[in-house]
Amino acid sequence: MAYFIVTSLLKIVGILFLVILPMVSYSVYAERRVSAFIQDRRGPNRVGPAGLFQPIADIFKLLLKEDFTPRTVNTFYYWLAPCLAMMPAIITIAVVPFGSTLFGVPMVIADINVGILYVFAIASLGVYGIVLAGWASNSKYPFLGGVRSSSQMISYELSLGLAVIPIFLLVGSLRLTSVVRYQIEHGWFIAPFIGDWMNPWKWLLAIPMLISFVVFAIAIFAETNRLPFDLPEAEQELAGGYNTEYSSMKFALFFLGEYAAMITGSAIIVTLFFGGWHLPLPSWHGGFHWVFVDGNAPGWRGVIGGLFNIATFFTKVAVLIFMFMWVRWTLPRFRYDQLMRLGWLFFFEIALVNIFIAAGILAFIRP
């Protein structure tokens, strides 16, 4: 029991302070660099080599700014909102398996049997931070941002939940580690036919999975308030939306919360569709074949394997984060009615039909 608590604490502290928080601040840096490159600019390149210390400078700047509370705000909720905005993104990470095992310890903070439901449940709490910020600011643009956010979240949670049902129809368990195990055995859901090219059933399965992936990824964009769905903060029309009245570290919490949500979203996409921490390596040990390393191997090979799996996972996450940024700096923002129409009349239906397709394939064609 004590061993369990210690390892859990180590995992929490390690993943939170060594990985997620630095990743959050560096994804802000990456965002600025990527956007600059896409727009033929240089981006932050002053602080440290290639501007790599920019996040640290940013943190100091945000900490040292005047923490200003406007007079007309509802103070308690005004202070509560940034905390609520940051929290869900971070606690969602708890159920995501970010590696196989290391020294025999499974690399997931809480492997609960309702994993994906937990993710959705906590993610759906993320809206409170934004709505509260908008309401407590007592100002019209934040208020509009808050109202938009609440309806946007409700609309896209439906597609989000429905989109992943085909996966769990296949896996038969809501546990996220089971999803990864299943993918290791049967191929990644994004392309189940890889390595099993001749199997028509896998090719057939790829159709609902691809639809699932597209709908889920787009819904994650909407859930994390990223462009093209960043209606709640729309700088051009709402002057920053719900965070207009915030400054200093409270503003930073919103900002970091958004990036943390993006990281969490990427992590879940990786877990559900990209095989989690799984990456087979080519090997010529007596002819070409795929080897797969994980933390279960004996001795130092196990340690290397465990670390390699963790690295694999976060590399995949990083690639997806780049995707998020790439999309953000390419697509324009939707209009609000278009957003609602898209959510309710398009993705919702697609996800529903997709469930039928997947269920049909499973029920009638499964070998």
Partner: protein
């Protein structure tokens, strides 16, 4: 008159939007790639490279007061610039030139002339309205300061930026 721009009729492929989105993504990644490998070079790296040399003649930088060839501050404190200034950045306190002064005929001069460069919007209205050709917008654009007080240009600072203006109308020097 309101003009209604007709919406283009899209065919089913266009209405999917996906090809357009993919095309857009391709364009941005191309830019990203070119920039990453240093093939694009568009922006000027400001503190190292400056465009001072290529500033056009009509560039409107910091406003400044000028002296004429006799060393007289050309401003006579008529306060028209203070009146016209859209952001109300100018503040003038007029004074009377003592009768012993060689320019006693001008009678009035600015005792204090402050331009708040935080407020100034470089519109050039002051230059245009000035009946004495005393205020000009110069090419200084990097105006910095550590405090708000630093950003207020006083008379001395304005005259320092402005310097001496040659070849303007000298209406107070007319011959008897």
């Amino acid at each position: 008159m309101a003009i209604t721009v007709p919406r283009p009729n899209l065919n089913w492929r266009e209405r999917m939007y996906l090809p357009a989105i993919v095309a857009g993504l391709a364009i941005t990644i191309k830019h990203f790639k070119n920039m990453l490998f240093g093939r694009t070079r568009v922006t000027m790296q400001y503190p190292e490279e400056k465009w001072d040399a290529s500033l056009p003649d009509y560039y409107r930088g910091a406003p400044a007061l000028v002296r004429d060839e006799d060393g007289r501050v050309r401003c006579v404190a008529c306060q028209l610039c203070e009146f016209i200034c859209p952001p109300r950045a100018i503040k003038i306190i007029p004074g009377e030139i003592p009768s012993t002064n060689r320019f006693a005929k001008v009678e009035k001069y600015p005792e204090e002339f402050d331009i708040d460069m935080i407020r100034c919007i470089f519109c050039g209205m002051c230059e245009e309205v000035c009946p004495e050709q005393a205020i000009y917008l110069r090419k200084d654009y990097a105006i910095t300061g550590f405090t708000r007080a630093d950003m207020v240009h006083h008379k001395e600072k304005l005259l320092e930026i402005g310097g001496v203006m040659h070849g303007v109308v000298l209406k107070w020097n007319e011959k008897k």
